[in-house]
Structures are given as structure tokens and as C-alpha cells.
Amino acid sequence: MLKSKHIPLSVAWELTLTCNMKCMHCGSSAGYTRTHELTTKEALDLCHHLQELRAKYINLTGGEAILRKDWYDISKEIRDLGMEVSVLSNGLALNEKIISQFKKVGVYAIALSLDGGTAETHDSIRGVPGSFEKCLSSLKALKKENLPTTVITTVHKGNLKELSKIRDLIIGKTKAWQIQIAVPIGRFPMDFILTKEEFYAVALFIASTRKHYSVKELAVMGAHSIGYHSRVLRNTMVSPVWNGCQAGISVLGIQSNGGIKGCLSLPDSYIEGNIRQRSLADIWDDPNAFSYNRNCKNSDLKNQCASCRFGKTCKGGCTTVSASITGAPHNDPYCLYFIETNMLVE
């Protein structure tokens, strides 16, 4: 099989679905260990296969990645093979030993999830009393060790109004803050999803915060699902250009049982194969794989995106948001350009 011209630069690897929290917005419905998760040997082999595909940034996630007993060995293997490793955690299981392992392995960044500006909100969203305090103390402990952190906040109706409080809490305690929207995947209830106006207000908040604070004080970024061609607001994303969803192009998602998707957040109907049946390279290089992005044509764009002047490069925004809300890719309704067209500009 011919090698694909695409490179999975950034890989989100769900090490385990085991989790010590029960977050209401969890897209993976994490909690219990997934059936037939990869063995240590399979996981270590996978590190080599990722290197062969020239992967660069491996983001370990879950569930709660550090609950997997061999997370350190896997991280070390990734580093030994010359790739960068980041860890996404809820902070609950962090302790001195794990923090020293982060340092030893040389993690690139540790992302901590903070979903409320008060203990009441955060703990109720995450289903664990005391998790708010633990998250903040973990953030402090990581900073004390000079480990680079980013805070991730997933926004929905339950915490929308606490963004300012969260900002005040984390100023000076983290390098970056990523804000993303919750979408109806996994156990997230549809009635908590933001309206388009609320979504726009979040973008407004991000744009305003970015102007107010320098990147050295707090680098605020909307995730890949908050943006696209605004005519009114400053850029809300990290990248100054949006070149369409990168699932299956420069991004790869790996489930803890070896299932492969273009992006880990996508619904399971987007699984392209399993590394236990076919090698990772076979799946990645398959000319028919990830076709929703690799072979996206203008005629694939739907609804408002079909007639949009940015359609060709934008490809209809975030595939996960589009698929989870409309049932199909290439028509993400949470688009600043689209919302402005309908509510503001015209």
C-alpha cells in the first residue's frame, strides 16, 4: 500500500477508560475500564508504530490516563523515541510521586480540567465532592515544580456564567487556558448544550480576555470548535488561520482498546479500524480511510456551509460538533461567521 501524504502530528491516545470521576459532559462516558484494553506490550509496540508514522505530539488522555499502572512506562517509551508527551488529567489522583514522574519523563504539558469557578459548580459537574480544591492544589503543586500546565474548561449551560470566576482563579497559576464547548456525545445531556447566542458570548469572552491579558499572563484560546471567520471579533483560536478539521489529516485518535479514529472526540461510527486487526500504518495509509476529511469536496458541504464563501477551506468546521449535533459532518452550526450573518451583520 502507498504511504499516505498525511502525517499524524498530534495524537490523542486514550490510555484507559477507567476514571475516578463521573463528569456530566464526558464524551467517552468514562468510568469503567473498556473491554479488552491494550496490554502493556501492545501499548509499547504502538509507540514504535507512531514513531514510524512520524507522529510528534502524543497527548495521553482517558478516562484518567494516570490511573493506568503502566502510564509512566508508556510515557517514557514515547520520550525515548523522540516524541513529545502531554498528559490530560482531572488532578484528583495527582500526588508527589506522579509529579516527580512527570518531571523525570519530561512531559511537554499537563492539562488540568477545571469546569467551575466555585467548588459547588465544579464538584457537581464532575460528580466528586472536593475535586475543585484538589484541582487547584494540583495546579499549585505543578507550578511549584515548574511544570508547564494548561487549564481546560468545557463550557455548557451549567457553568457558562462562571468563566470570569475561573479566569480570576487561574491567573498566574497556569501558562494557558483552553476553552471548549460541550457537545452531545457520551453522557452529556442535550438540554445543557449552549444556544448559539450563548456560544457567541463565549467567543466574545475569549476575544475580550485575549485583549486584556498578554500571552505571558494567560494565553487564552478557544479550542478548534470555537471560531471560524468572524467579521466582528478578534481571533479566538490559537492559529490565525482555520484550515478545516484536521481529523485524519494531521490528527489521530486512539482508543484504549486499539480503535482508531481521526479525532478521539468523534462518535464511534467514525472508527476506521483496530490495530489488533490491521497495523496502524495500514489503517492510516488506507486511501479510503478518513475520507470525510481527506476527500472532502464542496458538494459534501451541507446546509449553511454549502453556500458559504469559506466552505472550501473551512470544510464545515469541527467534524465532532457537526456530527454530534446534525448527524453529519461539514455543517457545524456553531460557527461565528454563520451566527453573525444571521444575528448581527445582515
Partner: protein, 79 residues
């Protein structure tokens, strides 16, 4: 402020109110000629780098889009 701009500003105020944003926050959030020019220059640089890297590595979309931690990783070098 002309009618269209006023309409946009009022609508932004209404939406900002949901998050407790005041008039100065709204003004901070809006693009200006300077911010538009800056972003255009930044975009041109990023696209140029992307094109150079793309031609060298034969990869599409390399280095100028993607998910958060990668973005964070790439850009943190310039913080």
C-alpha cells in the same frame, strides 16, 4: 456610530451581559483595523511556513492547524 455598527454593538452588549461583560470588555473583543492587519500578517507567515514545511515533508495541513495541546505546544515556544 452609524446604524449598522450601533445594531451590532447593542447585540454584542446583550450577549455579553450573559457573562457579565461590560462595555469595555465588548470593545476589547471587537476587531480593529490594527488587529485585523496583525492577524493577516500572522496568517500569511503561518501559511508561508506551512507551505515550506508541507513541500519538504509532503504533508497536508502541517503545523498550522490542529488540536489544542499541539497548538499550545507549538506556540508556547514563542510565549
Amino acid at each position: 456610530m452609524n446604524g449598522r455598527k450601533k445594531h451590532i454593538h447593542t447585540k454584542l452588549q446583550q450577549m455579553g451581559k450573559m457573562l457579565g461583560l461590560d462595555d469595555s470588555d465588548i470593545n476589547n473583543a471587537k476587531r480593529t483595523a490594527v488587529s485585523t492587519l496583525s492577524i493577516a500578517i500572522a496568517a500569511a507567515v503561518v501559511i508561508l511556513i506551512g507551505k515550506i514545511v508541507t513541500s519538504q515533508l509532503d504533508a497536508v495541513g502541517l503545523y498550522y492547524t490542529g488540536v489544542s495541546i499541539k497548538d499550545f505546544g507549538l506556540l508556547s515556544r514563542f510565549f
